[in-house]
């Protein structure tokens, strides 16, 4: 009874929205791609939009993502942990897992450093690296990777990069002319052009990777690996 009523209501709303949206989605002739590209001297306009003209939104999103990762760690702190003792490590699978990890590290470096020249950027690169390293960790032992992290002092790097991202984004939102003039001085299409956009892409990629890794690590610790 309830599912029938729900189905009728949702179908009714769908029909009304479908009829109403027809004339909103016609072909529009204007696009401001050339203007954005000339004003910022950067080939990829999507990265330019979310890192220069709408940088205020990206600032909130980075804060949201970091805060959710910390909140997940905090809330799961008091839940019981699964024992890792009977994780079966198959040698051939772990070799292929490390191969995938290295390939994803290379892909991360390429996508992130070329974020302003071709489609890509910080977010895509962070997701690539997180999937690759998670696959490596699932097949070769989670506790080893965690110990490696503590030796490399990953927490300190995360905090410092967070502070740098927030301060440069606030600066870019409050004083936008500084970065636009910096962009104009560099050549178009070179690897080191685009002002602070490459640096922000690298830091965002590392931040997205770190937060996703923390969340995946907490979930695997509670449920147990394969």
């Amino acid at each position: 009874m309830k599912s029938f009523m729900t189905f009728v209501l949702i179908a009714y709303c769908f029909v009304i929205i479908a009829f109403g949206a027809w004339d909103n989605l016609v072909y529009r002739d204007d696009n401001n791609v050339m203007e954005i590209s000339e004003r910022l001297n950067v080939p990829n306009t999507v990265t330019a939009v979310y890192l220069q003209s709408r940088v205020y939104d990206t600032l909130f999103e980075i804060i949201l993502f970091t805060m959710v990762a910390m909140a997940v760690a905090l809330m799961l702190k008091s839940e019981p942990v699964h024992e890792h003792n009977n994780q079966t490590i198959d040698n051939s699978t772990s070799v292929y897992g490390s191969l995938v990890g290295v390939l994803s590290l290379t892909a991360f470096c390429f996508v992130v450093l070329n974020g302003h020249l071709s489609p890509g950027g910080g977010f895509a690169g962070g997701v690539i690296l997180a999937s690759g390293i998670s696959l490596y960790a699932i097949t070769s032992g989670f506790s080893g990777v965690n110990r490696q992290y503590e030796r490399m002092k990953a927490g300190l790097i995360e905090g410092v990069s967070f502070v740098i991202i927030i301060s440069s984004m606030t600066f870019a939102a409050v004083f936008p002319e500084v970065f636009q003039q910096l962009n104009q001085k560099q050549s178009f299409g070179a690897l080191f052009s685009g002002g602070i956009i490459p640096m922000l892409n690298v830091l965002i990629g590392l931040k997205v990777y770190a937060a996703s890794w923390k969340m995946v690590g907490e979930f695997v610790a509670r449920r147990g690996p394969l």
Binding site: L9, I16, I17, L25, Y56, D57, G159
Partner: protein, 479 residues
């Protein structure tokens, strides 16, 4: 440029407090410094009105602005946040993470209030909502987690509908900014309004509210309340644009129905926090019925007196370990009763309180059918608050912690200050008549009170009610 400091300053200090979350004293000191700075910047903007685009980017950028509709909401959120943290300092279980979260909540709500761009509202409001979910589930009890989960599911469905509306608005006009909201057409307007109405505290759509108020400790519902006010600010702002004018009878209808039904549920309920939750439905109905600047000032006074009521009733129910009002006879002390009395007088509209001023303003500016329903709702409010006021007291003396007394004094002085400054004689007779009628009716019908069933508040039923509301609004679109 200086209004951009209003959201970024609390967010940056909140992030520092979260990263160093073991140092509680540092977090508390940062919180009070940050509130002081925000109030100073806010009072410097007092009579100005401005709108500008960040970076001068035009349509591909973000617009921000400040005008007279923002002021009561921003003031009330700071006052409530200070009161909550003063009261939370008396508990030892909250570490620095809690104060960092309150600061991030304050910063993101300030960002909602100054933003004039549809997608920016989505991002900042989601940040505020996520902080809300984490705060509701902070105590890690089963009931609180279920309440947070219900809230999160309902809110995500609502915001998906909002995003579809925002996308349609962009497809027609080519910009997300509020300056082009006059020509986005009625379908996009309908979807934006219904998408945002989930968190607004109206009766049929926000049925997650009683569970959240019921199960959490005393301070958390106040923070959930300031998130609701941000939603009501958006509803009040959107009605001033052309694409939303056809919704005006809907505002009147939904607001009036919510006001009456909320009060009826409230005088039948038995547990104190549930009574206050149903009264939130009723008062938000008042605000939405009068969708103009009077509604905005009623939102300001509602945050403060509802905060005082929730804090005092919550602390009493925690000390007595029961929320059932019939078991409070003879156990409340005089010191705990005074804030409850001041809050009840404010909500029933007694003269010399801020509730009298703002309710009078609303009843003046509403058409006739609205006045009839709102008067019925006011009488019902008086009936149900007689339950709180006429409880016999005990003769013991109890010493309350100093910080708790400071937060009660802060909120009560807000109510009395606002009430005394703007007092006028026009509505004196009406309000005394309403109060008198309510008291008489309370003594007549108090044996017939029975709690109404809570079936509409379960997860699936509340989602079905929400989809039904969308269907009703879209039907109004065709007619």
């Amino acid at each position: 440029m200086d209004i951009l400091l209003l959201p970024t300053l609390p967010i940056i200090t909140g992030s520092i407090a979260i990263i160093l979350h073991r140092k509680k004293r540092l977090a508390q000191v940062l919180f009070f410094l940050c509130c002081l700075a925000v109030i100073t910047i806010l009072l410097m903007q007092l009579n100005q009105e401005k709108t500008f685009q960040i970076g001068g980017w035009g349509d591909t950028g973000i617009t921000v602005g400040f005008d007279a509709l923002n002021l009561p909401f921003m003031l009330s959120s700071i006052i409530v946040a200070v009161a909550v943290s003063l009261s939370a300092m008396t508990r030892a279980t909250y570490d620095g993470f809690f104060y960092g979260l309150i600061m991030i909540l304050l910063g993101s709500l300030n960002a909602v209030y100054i933003s004039r761009d549809l997608f920016n509202i989505y991002v900042t409001f989601e940040l505020a909502s996520i902080v809300g979910y984490i705060l509701i589930a902070y105590g890690k009890k089963g009931k609180q987690i279920w309440a947070a989960m219900k809230y999160a599911l309902l809110s995500s469905v609502g915001f998906s509908v909002f995003l579809i509306g925002a996308g349609l608005a962009y497809a027609r006009t080519g910009s997300f900014s509020f300056l082009s909201l006059n020509e986005i057409g009625s379908l996009a307007g309908a979807l934006i309004f219904t998408g945002l109405s989930v968190k607004s505290g109206l009766f049929f759509v926000s049925m997650w509210l009683p569970d959240v108020y019921d199960s959490t400790p005393a301070e958390i519902p106040l923070l959930s309340g300031i998130i609701i006010k941000a939603e009501d600010y958006l509803i009040l702002r959107f009605i001033t644009y052309d694409s939303f004018q056809w919704l005006a009878p809907m505002y009147l209808g939904v607001g009036a129905i919510s006001a009456v039904i909320g009060a009826v549920y409230a005088f039948n309920a038995r547990k104190s926090q549930r009574v206050l939750a149903y009264h939130t439905f009723s008062q938000i109905g008042f605000i939405v019925t009068a969708s103009n600047i009077h509604g905005a000032w009623h939102a300001f006074s509602h945050s403060i007196f509802k905060g005082l009521l929730l804090l005092s009733a919550g602390k009493i129910s925690e000390r007595l370990k029961t929320q059932d009002l019939s078991k409070w006879k003879g156990k409340m002390t005089v010191g705990e009763y005074i804030p409850l009395l001041i809050g009840s007088l404010a909500i029933i509209g007694f003269p010399l309180t801020s509730g009298y001023v703002t309710k009078g303003g609303i009843i003046d500016s509403v058409p006739l059918t609205g006045v009839v329903m709102l008067t019925i709702a006011s009488v019902a409010t008086v009936i149900s608050f007689c339950k709180f006021v006429f409880i016999p007291l005990s003769k013991r003396k109890l010493k309350l912690p100093k910080l708790l007394i400071m937060s009660y004094v802060l909120l009560s002085s807000g109510i009395l200050f606002h009430g005394v400054i703007k007092f006028d004689y026009y509505k004196l007779g009406e309000s005394l008549a309403v109060i008198g009628a309510g008291v008489v009716l309370y003594f007549l019908i108090r044996k017939y009170f029975r709690p109404i069933s809570t079936k509409p508040e379960k997860l699936d039923e509340s989602l079905v009610l929400f989809v039904g509301f969308i269907a009703v609004v879209l039907t109004m679109l065709i007619l």
